[in-house]
Amino acid sequence: MKPVRFGFKTLWPWLAALVAVVIMHFVLTDRLDAYFFTILMYAGINAILASSLNLVSGFTGQFSMGHAGFMSVGGYFSAYITTVVLASHADLFADPVLAPLVFGGILVASGLVSAGMGYLVGLPSLRLKGDYLAIVTLGFGEIIRVVVLNVDTIGGARGMAGIPALSSFAWVYGTLVITLFVVWRLIHSQQGRAFLAVREDEIAAEAMGVNTTSAKVRAFATGAFFAGVAGALFAHYLRYLNPATFDFNRSFEVIIMVVLGGMGSLTGSVVAAIFLTILKELLRPLQELTRLDFRMVIYSVLLIVLMLNRPNGLFGTREVSDFFRKKRKGAAS
């Protein structure tokens, strides 16, 4: 992977994307059919989850199965702030200037809480070589679920209702652009080189002076940060949280997005997230017809077949920008 300099030349596509998101926001909101709009929002949230998990699994080579757990931490934390702590300040969210500032702050805070959890969970398991992270994150997801079930202030098993609707198209897709930008900058930085080195060969990376534990934990905490933000966005779009929303199947959905798109390709993660979100909706009628849950069987077979026959997924490690670059090179020669 070639180094990418930080400057207008590399920055403008991202700025253009942000502008496009704002324009799309005003075009689509309240005009698109509510059902399609919901799918669009879920696709965006899933894309944030998938690209942040890709940083952990695809670029750093650590297998985490607890992304839904971090989503749950971010979701519940933000919902607790907006519905319980700020309950008497409901007018705050009506203010056109203050509301975005407050919500933005809450998003960052829930990401930070989630990242802190990621640090605590990641440190003991990532210190070691071997795949302990997979089991520990799986256990973490379970523990979070049990804790949420037993805490009554956030609804317990009833779930948490009445969360203000603060997520919008611009928030979700703006966050997606920022997530992609951060991950992309990160993997092209010195830090990111360490991540890639750990993925390729942990022992060699260590021999070259990379602090492997620290690199792994940093990648993992960053992934957890964005999972937390995605959870907060999700909570304020659906306006209802239930511990069962964030079960293991949710983590598994994100994993299959990353694997299908290609471990090490952000483009792949986004494409696969959109594809699988739509597929889920297409499978819904079949599921209601037969009253059987085929989805997980299809996903698991897909995962095994992908690993056996096309372990690189759809995109491997390629990105959209690579296709453009190749074309330009072809024109020059």
Binding site: F63, D131, Y132, I135, L138, F140, V297, L303
Partner: protein, 300 residues
């Protein structure tokens, strides 16, 4: 004191079931360095094979030790075949791939078994038929011991002794130990590594199948997702004892079973499932090689 002994017996029988599962984890990890996520689901299949065999042969009409043996054998053979197929179809083609691919495949296999199990058997819990009964209770004063639990303990111990003999006394066992030391060196010495790995999977899966039937005896409610939690806990037990170490797995599983039963018995039932993971994090922090494990150095 009576209560204490009662918990002790419960804990030992629970622990022995964990031990049977943990043995499979630890053997597969020893030879492939792979966390075989599907192992807990093989245990679930064992319970279902046991149930369907008992129904088919009407074993519950005259419950006896023989009936139990038939169900056990059927489950062990069935699971050995499943274990063989899993390794052959899903894991063997990936022997040279990066470790993360193997791990993802293992998760895929596990979910495939769980959810196709839901389609096949139905998601609702099934009742495991009573194929073995002892009416007479062992009692000593106020102390009453469920004879089924003693039976479970006895059968597990027999199976573990058999396993120990296979691993340390037979040619196949020696081949397994050699292959877990180094695949390449073992094959240079003329050991058919692939076949030894298949054998390891079959052995581990057979034990998990036996555990499935035994758990059906004492907790007769079985369902397709029943393998998830015991599978994870057995893995924790294997890490506790030092993963790759056969004796360690048994000791770790018994410790885990006992501590879980005491936790539930003395008033903290909600934390039952969290205990195993808390233990896992503590071990990884303070003694990552487990109680009996030796430190492995990485060679380039």
């Amino acid at each position: 004191m009576i209560e204490f002994i009662q918990h002790l017996v419960n804990g030992l029988s629970l622990g022995s079931i964990y031990a049977l599962i943990a043995l499979g984890y630890t053997m597969v990890f020893g030879i492939l360095q792979l966390i075989n996520f599907a192992h807990g689901d093989v245990y679930m299949l064992g319970a279902f094979i046991g149930m369907y065999t008992s129904r088919l042969l009407h074993l519950d009409q005259n419950p006896s030790f023989g009936a139990l043996c038939i169900a056990l054998l059927a489950a062990m053979i069935g699971c050995a075949v499943v274990g063989f197929l899993i390794e052959r179809i899903a894991y063997r083609p990936l022997r040279k791939s990066p470790r993360i691919n193997l791990l993802i495949t293992a998760v895929g296999v596990s979910l495939f078994i769980e959810f196709s199990g839901q389609l096949l058997f139905g998601a609702d819990p099934k009742f495991f038929p009573q194929i073995f009964q002892i009416h007479q209770e062992f009692s000593y004063g106020e102390l009453k011991i469920n004879p089924l639990q003693m039976m479970v303990l006895l059968i597990s111990v027999i199976l573990m002794v058999v396993l120990q003999t296979i691993i340390y006394k037979s040619r196949w066992g020696r081949a397994m130990r050699a292959a877990s030391f180094s695949h390449d060196l073992a094959s240079l010495m003329g050991i058919p590594t692939d076949r030894v790995i298949s054998f390891t999977f079959m052995l581990g899966s057979a034990l998990a199948g036996a555990a499935g039937v035994l758990v059906g005896l004492i907790y007769p409610k079985i369902e397709p997702l029943m393998g998830v939690m015991p599978g994870l806990k057995a893995f924790v037990a294997a890490v506790l004892g030092g993963i790759g170490n056969v004796t360690g797995a048994v000791v770790g599983a018994l410790l885990l079973g006992l501590s879980e039963t005491f936790l539930v018995g003395y008033g903290y039932p909600t934390f039952r499932d969290a205990l195993a993971f808390a233990l896992l994090i503590l071990i990884l922090l303070f003694r990552p090689n487990g109680l009996f494990g030796s430190k492995r150095t990485d060679k380039v």
